[in-house]
């Protein structure tokens, strides 16, 4: 059985390969266009931008306001010690934790995770790590979100992918 593969390069074959490469170049333009089209537009973010969360008088002491930070659910709390902001996606399996005033906790309903509303630390339940804190600033009667307090930490939580 003759199964030796032979390869002969002629001038004609070489020209064909070059023409093929040009065709690939043109095709890649089409594919790039489609990928660009499919690429989510909301991803383009500038990290330094201040995001207005609320006016101070919208959030009286002991209340909260939900907002979006880098396309992730987040929550602003007005604690006796001042304003606090955290990403509210639970670090356990990605449900949204919410403010439970009667117990003074951030509570994740999926598997009963409880977080400290002052620090984001895990109080009880299965979450493996605290909620990521968001740096905020209060100026001219309004509260702005600045950045993640610890972007390196946010990168380690899979539910915050693309947000840090």
């Amino acid at each position: 059985m003759e199964d030796k593969i032979t390869l002969t390069i002629t001038r004609r074959k070489l020209t064909e390969i070059f023409i093929g490469l040009v065709a690939v170049l043109f095709a890649s333009g089409g594919i790039a266009t489609i990928l660009k089209y499919l690429w989510p537009a909301s991803i383009s973010k500038d990290a330094s931008a201040e995001v207005l969360i609320a006016n101070v008088d919208e959030v009286p002491p002991g209340t909260i306001k939900k907002f979006m930070f880098n396309n992730k659910a987040a929550v602003l709390l007005r604690m006796p010690a001042g304003f606090r902001a955290f990403g509210s996606i639970c670090t356990h399996l990605g449900c949204i934790a919410y403010w439970k005033p009667d117990e003074n906790i951030l509570f994740c309903p999926c598997h009963l995770g409880k977080f400290d509303p002052n620090t984001g630390a895990v109080l009880s339940g299965p979450p493996p790590s605290p909620l990521p804190a968001i740096d905020i600033v209060v100026k001219e009667g309004a509260i702005y979100a600045l950045k993640w307090k610890d972007p390196e930490y946010v990168k380690t939580i899979s539910f915050y992918a693309g947000a840090a």
């Binding site: 990928l35 499919l38 690429w39 989510p40 909301s42 991803i43 880098n70 396309n71 992730k72 659910a73 990605g94 899979s158 992918a161 693309g162 947000a163």
Partner: protein
Amino acid sequence: MTLSDKLYKWFDERLKLSELLPPIVKHPAPENVTSNPLYCLGGTAFLCFLILVLTGIFLAMYYKPTPVEAYKSVERIMTEVPMGSLIRSIHHWAANIMIAAVMLHMLRIYFMGAYKKPRELNWVVGISLLLITTTFGFSGYLLPWDQLAFWATKIGTGIAGSIPVMGIYISLILVGGNDIGPETLTRFYALHVLILPATVAILLVLHFLMVRLQGISGRL
């Protein structure tokens, strides 16, 4: 001469039916195939596909792929549209049966050794069809936009996102953003009603052509 003979003759004169059709249509299946119901699994899957296409087209006339309307429109199909719950239930059960039939069909091919030379390529096409069928089920799962749909999609796109290196890009294009939202719904809808059916149709043509060219393998 009856009317049907006349009609046949009219078409025959123009399309050469009597030359072209017999070799395609008059092709008796071998005895060992017709006597064994295990050989019906592939056909069952195909029948399910046809039913799914038909019921799917009707569902698409009432379904609205937006976060506000999706669940409401499914609710409307189930409660208000006459025969709506029947159409949707048929779609639901045909989808489940199709997955089961495709899996069993694959097992039959495997255990009967029907994937061996010269049928390797048909095995490859078959496995692609199997994967697309499961993707079909997965993308259809999101469309009712309820809690089950949301979390199943969260997990499914999370699995896609866990692929090394490419994962994050794949999940971004699939989800259409950082998190599941309106973009995800329309993307999955386009996938479910346009891209996947077209792909399945093309692969099915190849699948059936190869069955005819290579014949059905005998039993071991």
